[in-house]
């Protein structure tokens, strides 16, 4: 079965430190890849997406992600975390590869930021 794995349930970082959130997916072809953020009591906001082309993708709020086909990974990074980045982050995959947006989500990584 197709699946998305976010191995870290909860991560705590200090403000100003760098961040990497991991995401792996199970599939052979290149799916469409997404990262969403959800602040408490809020809906999901798209941070960035990868469809094709350059494997390093820039998103909003200073986030970037790198697609590595050989590792079936799409890890999210930020060089310097701000307290406002505390939220839950979801990796999502459209395995259809056709842009149907049938998204399979990972279980999420909750990010806490220490002042």
């Amino acid at each position: 079965a197709q699946s998305v794995t976010q191995p870290d349930i909860h991560i705590t970082v200090s403000e100003g430190a760098s961040l990497e959130l991991r995401c792996n997916y199970s599939y052979g072809a290149t799916p469409y890849l997404f990262w969403y953020v959800q602040s408490p009591g809020q809906g999901l906001q798209l941070l960035l997406k990868y469809f094709s082309g350059d494997t390093l993708v820039q998103g909003i709020k200073g986030f970037e992600a790198e697609f590595k086909r050989s590792q079936s990974s799409f890890n999210l990074r930020k060089p310097s975390v701000h307290w406002s980045d505390a939220a839950e982050y979801f990796c999502a995959v459209d395995f259809s590869g056709a842009g149907s947006y049938q998204l399979t989500f990972g279980k999420g990584t909750k990010l806490s930021v220490i002042p």
Partner: protein, 110 residues
């Protein structure tokens, strides 16, 4: 701005009740989705629709049905609510390049 509106932020219903969760989008999108979100499980796809009167089962359709009578409205129906359907329900509407989510409906079944 694209807006996906879910009619209720919070609902409390009794076991056995028929429950309707409404979702409306204002961008003429053809694709609409219903997910449920549970702690530690992420979001799971319940049903989706690519056109009016069309519906497809997602990963966890049991206990749910949907209705898409108009393009802008996609309703999730719990025919007989049960306590294990207590959850956050998120509706999404998609263009060719992005999915837009509503704020969610937190449903409690008592």
């Amino acid at each position: 701005d694209v807006k996906v509106t879910q009619s209720s932020r919070y609902l409390v219903k009794r076991t056995g009740e028929k429950v309707f969760l409404e979702c409306v989008q204002d961008m003429d999108h053809e694709n609409m989705f219903w997910y449920r979100q549970d702690p530690g499980l992420g979001l799971r796809l319940i049903y989706f629709s690519y056109d009016v009167k069309m519906k497809e089962k997602g990963d966890i359709p049991e206990g749910y049905s949907v209705s898409r009578e108009k393009k802008e409205r996609f309703s999730l129906i719990l025919e007989s609510a049960s306590t294990n359907q207590t959850s956050m329900y998120l509706c999404a509407s998609t263009s060719n390049t992005e999915a837009f989510f509503g704020q969610g409906t937190r449903l409690t079944v008592v």
